[in-house]
Symmetry: C2
Subunit: 210 residues, 2 copies
Amino acid sequence: MADAPVAPATSPSAASEGKAPRTERGRKTLRAILDAAAVEFGERGFHDASVSGITRRAGVALGSFYTYFDSKDAVFRALVRDMSDQVRDRVAPAIRAAPDQIAAERAGLREFVAFVRGHKEIYRIIDEAEFVDPASFKLHYATTAERIAARLKAGAERGEIRSDVSEVHAWAIMGMNVFLGLRYGVWEEDLTLDTIADTVAEMLARGLAP
Amino acid sequence: MADAPVAPATSPSAASEGKAPRTERGRKTLRAILDAAAVEFGERGFHDASVSGITRRAGVALGSFYTYFDSKDAVFRALVRDMSDQVRDRVAPAIRAAPDQIAAERAGLREFVAFVRGHKEIYRIIDEAEFVDPASFKLHYATTAERIAARLKAGAERGEIRSDVSEVHAWAIMGMNVFLGLRYGVWEEDLTLDTIADTVAEMLARGLAP
């Protein structure tokens, strides 16, 4: 099930200000543009990517692009936010379904690496944001770390992990996940998702025990 | 002592092929060019950076630059390697001096964040390598992970940490260190080095216990 192709939900607010789609058909076009932008920016990088390259890949007219976005910069910014949301939407249900906090961290890492394997361009896009749109880059990691810190705190309050979990633990976990995703998601798929997730979960189970 | 300014050692092989300096004075010029390149690339990014910007910052003639490097690409590539070496040279003595493997990991993280605080440009430079020079980017992280894996294995053989430490643990530790360096080295210095290092060491001491 984890690998079943599911069309990602698209927030109408992904469009530029005042350009949010109002119809289902409009939302589908917006989704097609964002998916095409992921491939275009991922393959060519921001500077070589073009709006016409995106519309060609999406199979939509140039006019449709400008119905929803003001510029190449605007669609790039929307794409970073969209990728961030897609990761959250992929890992959140697995985390919620987990029986305890360590199982939740295990599921979060497992689903993240699975997502990366299907979206290898995510690293190039988010990493390039550091240069093209530093505010989006910072927002992506700050938001992700806050989300991890909040769920660790909730786990601590339920007595499942140590009571002194902090922002340092959240950043440590995010860093592990990002680098394991790079190594075993983008570079080489030479270990199973379960091997990676079990190894880390085993370390965290003891390292974060109450 | 950790914050005393020490001139980094410069490998003569940092220069382009056939251009290695043969004199102490030459090595000093090469060092000055690399330090100036770190500031120029860090502030302006690869595309906007220029050889003349580097030589101006270094206070050397344009001809001196070409005595050691073939191009802007060549000095960028040398800089990524040099930054990688500088990190290693900064953390290695602290790791060697540590009484056991957990103390070594603690010291490695502490010295890395300390280094980042004094060289905030390192993230922009290594991250930009992903786009400008992907081979250098990959080499930097692959080499660092191998170094961590080797020292974990040695620690396991001495019985100081669990015997099943693997490449997954090495990548997890590298990821933690890189992201903690970004958050508490580059973004904001709102926690002491010891607080960060103690938090992670405490988690690893239990998580990697034999």
